[in-house]
């Protein structure tokens, strides 16, 4: 525990202490300028990493936010006579507000569309800064005198300390954020936005908040940039800078504060890198050495494919060779960026710091922080009072059509409180569509779903989850990059008050709740028998364990109704029995369950009531024994099962 704290926190403290001490010993204006720039780019890239690393989106707008922040601060100082603090706050606010405004439409998009929207925003920003000549001075540029801070003018050394202090503050705040429910939610929604919504964590609002925060940091960095250079031109903030920033984040390592810092040093050094031949040779030589080391090591351990090892070696080799052959490296800048980006993306997909972190944690054997003891189950999943058997979930003439296909065609049924209600039917009978309509993934074409007699929200997984209906997914929707424990913790989010407020979390006040969340999540893992695998990433769990984890995560919502979409699909027999035990245990806590299933023996063994679907309509209802005798059911469903008892249950999707 102490070793861990000492190593991780100690490294951060040491770095900031060293950086702060530099101006005391080195009296070189050029070095000081470079380090100031490093601090500014550090803040900028930490902001960019939120959207690129955590949200997993290619964000090409960060250069625009730098520019907007810089111009806001500059204009505040020049036109309104503001002090440094006020101007910086204004720039931060402009970044947050414009970031939110861009995010509202843009974050409904994914992948290339999002990249294009942000790229358009950058183009639009530069164009506007250029054309609003009466305000910004247009292409002529804007000169700024560095404003005083609380009435004291700052010399370059003091300004450098200010930038470093701000970087340290941002670093601390972001570390608090990323280690909290927010950071986990960011990662969760990148892995599976659908499941994030279904766990009552609003995907969209988290994305917008994350993007706005990152843009705000861009604005803040912009203000410092303006005070540092004291001269601004719209052409500085074009597309090319955006690409360099992106290169910085990817090269340094995504999802890592250290990575952003390493990336920032690269971005700050880049102009020098290109004009100083010796420096360029040294760095590209180091790159080649690293590529050789990583490539050979990976090949020997067989962790990477030959292409992954050879391509970066060739690319960095080309950099070294090209550097020797070409006289003026500046002319080749684009080719150089391309080669660098290529070798990193192929050779070190996790970036320099991602690689280093793995290496260092092996070297020092940094132990993980111990987990707290699990909370009592009664606190995490309080048993509901004895069920009345009254109607809990009612469907009224529910329809969902896709064009001419009537997937769900007028279904009315009642799920009674405290029961396990089975929903069965042959492939394509509309079971999955029905579940998707109830849980809010699809909007019904017509009809209603009532919970306790009140209509459930329609067409929103998030709102339905909030109303007390949780679900699992037939084709697993786990947050594959998170550990089993973290998967459950994401869904627990609503149980804690402070963790929901962004400012409180940034100040680090969410930490006590974090311990409790771990204890609570551990209790639920113990409940499904996965406590010893709490630290395993979900993607490395066995298939059966992944199915159990889906249920643990859904119960973390403390649902009134739990919808299980084919929880036994594809399970081997021992796991199947275990899964049935888990379902019984969840039920014994008073949770009403709607069970969609293919295996008839699972349904007979668990369900109090069964509804049989075929062709989007109900063909039979009753207890499992009653239903099994009905000729229609035998014809539509059981006949098929008898013909092939081992029919692949996961075939329907």
């Amino acid at each position: 525990m102490w070793k861990r704290l000492l190593l991780i926190r100690g490294a951060e403290l040491l770095m900031f202490a060293l950086l702060a001490a530099v101006p005391l010993t080195v009296h070189n204006a050029y070095v000081l300028g470079l380090l100031t720039l490093l601090a500014i780019y550090g803040i900028l890239l930490i902001g960019l990493d939120v959207s690129v690393g955590y949200l997993g989106q290619v964000n090409l707008a960060q250069a625009a936010f730098l520019g907007l922040g810089a111009y806001t601060a500059g204009l505040c100082v020049e036109r309104l006579g503001c002090g440094m603090l006020l101007a910086a706050l204004a720039a931060l606010a402009v970044g947050v507000i414009l970031g939110a405004l861009l995010a509202l439409p843009a974050l409904r998009l994914e992948g290339p569309q999002f990249a294009l929207a942000t790229l358009s925003f950058t183009a639009l920003t530069v164009l506007t800064l250029n054309e609003l000549e009466w305000l910004t001075g247009g292409a002529q540029g804007l000169s700024i005198t560095r404003p005083p801070l609380f009435g004291h003018p700052l010399d370059p050394r003091q300004f450098y300390w200010l930038c470093m202090a701000l970087l340290a503050l941002v670093w601390l705040a972001m570390r608090n954020l990323l280690a909290s429910q927010w950071g986990r939610a960011f990662e969760a929604l990148r892995d599976s936005p659908i499941a994030t919504d279904a766990m009552g964590v609003g995907t969209y609002r988290h994305k917008v908040a994350g993007f706005a925060l990152g843009s705000g940091l861009g604005g803040l960095a912009g203000a410092l940039y303006a005070f540092n250079f004291q001269y601004l031109q719209p052409q500085t903030f074009v597309y090319e800078l955006t690409v360099i920033l992106l290169l910085g984040v990817v090269l340094g390592g995504r999802k890592s504060l250290w990575g952003a810092f390493v990336g920032a040093s690269l971005v700050a050094l880049l102009p020098n890198l290109l004009s100083n031949k010796l420096l360029f040779e040294t760095i590209s030589g180091l790159g080649l050495a690293l590529a050789l080391f990583a490539g050979v090591r990976g090949l020997l351990r067989k962790t990477i494919r030959p292409f992954q090892a050879i391509a970066p070696i060739l690319a960095t080799g080309l950099l070294v060779g090209g550097g020797l052959a070409v006289r003026n490296t500046e002319d080749w800048r684009k080719a150089i960026f391309a080669l660098m980006l290529f070798s990193v993306v192929v050779g070190l997909p996790e970036g320099l710091m991602g690689f280093a972190a793995k290496f260092l944690s092996q070297l020092f054997r940094i132990p993980q922080a111990p987990l707290p003891a699990p909370s009592p189950l009664d606190e995490v999943l309080p048993a509901r009072p004895e069920a009345t058997g009254g109607p809990l979930l009612e469907l009224r003439d529910l329809k969902r059509h896709f064009g001419g296909v009537k997937a769900v065609d007028g279904i009315s049924m009642t799920v009674r409180a405290g029961q396990i209600h089975g929903l069965i039917g042959p492939n394509g009978s509309g079971k999955s569509t029905l579940v998707n309509v109830i849980s809010g993934l699809y909007t019904p074409t017509s009809g209603q779903v009532l919970l306790h007699g009140a209509p459930l929200p329609q067409g929103s997984l998030f709102k339905t989850a909030r109303a007390g209906v949780a679900r699992t997914f037939q084709n697993l929707q786990l947050f594959s990059g998170l550990t089993a424990l973290e998967n459950v913790m994401v869904a627990l989010r609503d149980n804690y008050r402070r963790s929901r407020s962004l400012p409180l979390v940034l100040l680090g006040l969410g930490r006590p709740e974090e311990k409790r969340a771990q204890a609570d999540a551990l209790a639920l893992l113990e409940f499904v028998g996965l406590a010893d695998q709490a630290r395993t990433p979900a993607r490395d769990l066995t298939y059966g364990a992944q199915r159990f984890l889906e249920i643990a995560r859904a119960t973390a919502r403390r649902p009134e109704v739990l919808i299980l979409d084919e929880p036994a699909a594809g399970l081997a027999h021992p796991d199947l029995l275990r899964q049935m035990e888990i379902i019984k245990k969840v039920h014994s806590r008073g949770v009403t369950i709607l069970l969609i299933e293919h295996h008839m023996d699972v349904v007979s063994g668990l369900c109090d009531a069964v509804t049989v679907l075929d062709g989007g309509r109900i063909i039979a209802e009753g207890t499992p024994t009653e239903v099994k005798r009905q000729p229609k059911v035998i014809e539509a469903y059981l006949g098929e099962v008898e013909a092939g008892p081992a029919a692949p249950a996961g075939a329907e999707s």
């Binding site: 439409p105 843009a106 409904r108 998009l109 294009l116 929207a117 925003f121 183009a123 054309e131 659908i194």
Partner: protein, 111 residues
């Protein structure tokens, strides 16, 4: 299915290269030619394709003509510097309203 995936992909890249070259032939008499001329056009071409919907050939033509007209009107009304502004705003908005493009098909999420 006995169709070489690699070859089909190569063929489709070849075709798109051919169409791009054709566009190059058509555009060369009305603008200056240089190695960097593409960067301005690429953004525009990509915008048009995404706004129209990536699968819709007909849509691309319509949106392309529309964007061209819009740029001319903007540069006449607002000054030549603002030429690209309405197109860019429209691009962001169009994407937000119809992420799959104006002429693209709506995608049904499945789980």
């Amino acid at each position: 299915m006995g169709i070489s995936a690699t070859r089909t992909v190569m063929l489709s890249y070849g075709l798109s290269g051919m169409v791009a070259a054709l566009a190059g032939i058509l555009v060369s008499p009305i603008t200056t030619v240089g190695p960097t001329m593409a960067s301005a056009l690429v953004l525009k071409a990509f915008s048009v394709a995404v706004v129209a919907g990536l699968e819709s050939g007909f849509g691309v033509v319509i949106v392309g003509v529309f964007l061209g007209a819009l740029e001319s009107i903007a540069s006449y009304q607002l000054g030549s510097g603002w030429r690209e502004a309405p197109g860019l705003v429209l691009l962001i908005l169009a994407l937000a309203v119809r992420p799959t493009g104006v002429f693209g098909k709506a995608v049904i999420r499945k789980v």
